[in-house]
Subunit: 289 residues, 2 copies
């Protein structure tokens, strides 16, 4: 079973435990719509890669941590798309959750996914209680106050937005949690792994900024140019195309250099190099620039 299958299976099995006739059908359907089919599953992939590099010994625990990360990510997308935030009718080339199920169900879908992320951890980490606390701490911090995705989204309502804090909370926190949770799933110290995730998260942010300016709406499954419309910071607007690409390369190099000593370091380096290649703008985007 490859990584992609493993992630889909873990998410499917987790959500099946919550479904059934005793759960309101609209909520069950909305949660499935929010999670399947997924995007690139970048955060759970990263979590699994780090767990393997650390000599993963309990796949159930890693699966729970990876699923939990993805649920928190999907929950944030559902709430970010709401009319009072980005008012996005489309997501991943399909109607967003509120467009398909209404605003009430979308709010509850996000709530349910946040809670279920933690229920999934509790279910998956029963065999080794001493790993639950570190994982719950990592996941909670990545989602909540003061440095998690909810806080990141809340910065958008403030008059003065500290750019570093904002981007680290809104995007970086869940990436740092992905690498930290991967290590903690395998019983390793999560702290040295945070920086790897931070840097990869920042690289993805720059790659997204490039796509928002030079991407193709049909391929992205959402409109381009939203940062300018919504007045959000964008690395291309700040650094220009070449500057943003240089910044992206530097971040990916630093991420590689930050990988702590671990049994599977070589494989992880190779995986990150492949991922880095996918993140760089393609020739067509260069031409558009």
């Amino acid at each position: 079973m490859d990584t992609a299958q493993r992630i889909e299976r873990a998410l499917t099995q987790a959500l099946e435990r919550a479904a059934g006739p005793e759960c309101p059908a609209g909520l069950t359907a909305a949660v499935r719509h929010a999670v399947f089919p997924g995007g690139a599953r970048i955060r759970p992939r990263l979590c699994l890669s780090v767990a393997r590099a650390c000599g993963e010994d309990q796949r159930t625990i890693t699966d729970a941590a990876a699923s939990s990360l993805e649920m928190l990510h999907c929950a944030s997308l559902v709430h970010d798309d709401l009319p009072c935030f980005d008012d996005a009718a489309m997501r991943r080339g399909r109607p967003s959750v509120h467009a398909a199920f209404g605003e009430r169900t979308a709010i509850l879908c996000g709530d349910a996914l946040i809670v279920y992320a933690f229920q999934t951890l509790a279910f998956g980490v029963q065999s080794t209680p001493q790993r639950l606390g570190p994982l719950l701490t990592i996941l909670g911090a990545s989602a909540g106050m003061p440095y998690g995705i909810v806080a990141g989204q809340a910065w958008e309502s403030e008059a003065n937005i500290p750019l570093g804090l904002y981007q680290r909370a809104k995007t970086g926190a869940l990436f740092a949690a992905a690498t930290a949770a991967g290590a903690a799933s395998a019983g390793h110290d999560p702290e040295p792994w945070r920086r790897v995730g931070d840097l990869i998260g920042e690289a993805y942010q720059v790659a997204d900024d490039l796509k928002d300016v030079y991407g193709i709406a049909e391929e992205l499954g959402k409109p381009i140019g939203r940062d300018a419309v919504l007045g959000r910071p964008n690395a291309v607007a700040q650094l220009g195309f070449a500057g943003a690409v240089d910044h992206l390369k530097r971040l990916l190099g630093e991420a590689q250099a930050s990988i702590p000593a671990c049994p599977g370091a070589d494989d992880l380096h190779a995986e990150l190099a492949a991922q880095a290649a996918r993140l760089m703008p393609r020739p067509r985007e260069h031409a558009a620039a």
Copy 2:
């Protein structure tokens, strides 16, 4: 320090850990507004009472569980009050969170409180890792899918609402969690305690239904007659005043009878009797009926 002070202190200390200049000021203020000043703090009180009855040995753990319950409750009130749900401009005699801080911040405030409930557990239960799993399972189930408060709220959007499931999820789940978490905080088996909480939760629901019909808006801090306006089930509408009062008495008696054997059973019986007395309609309400 009495129980009320203990609860306020635990909540205050928990939220102080998340505040500070690195958290968006609007979010911090909204979360404080949602939690302070509180209502009757019924769920954390119940959790503390059961923990004491079970021979509480680690106050930090009980405090974390009690705070977590109250945060999940406050989160559900913030989201329930939103324009797309109950559209309630007032709560506890003050503007509701969205009325005071806007819809965006209210949605994020509820999200942050849900996450923070679990962060609080992780922080408070570090000393005894084997109690974290049971507590996380109890709290997660009470909030999420398929039987928790989010599912309860989601039933309101369904064409056919199974009354028992709906009320148990929307109100009962957090009461059952309060008694179960009280026991689990003290290292006791939580399962036999669920029924006590279930019955007390049902009693509070009937008492609320009575207040919704015969209460005084100024004292409740919210308008009366909302169930009829919103088409929600109400025990008085189903059973009449005398029938609802009889039902309330029976539920409270059954709750007392369900208390499992424990070191502090006598004190707990006395506490529940005092609580029962406060729940019964007062003479003025009898006169209004």
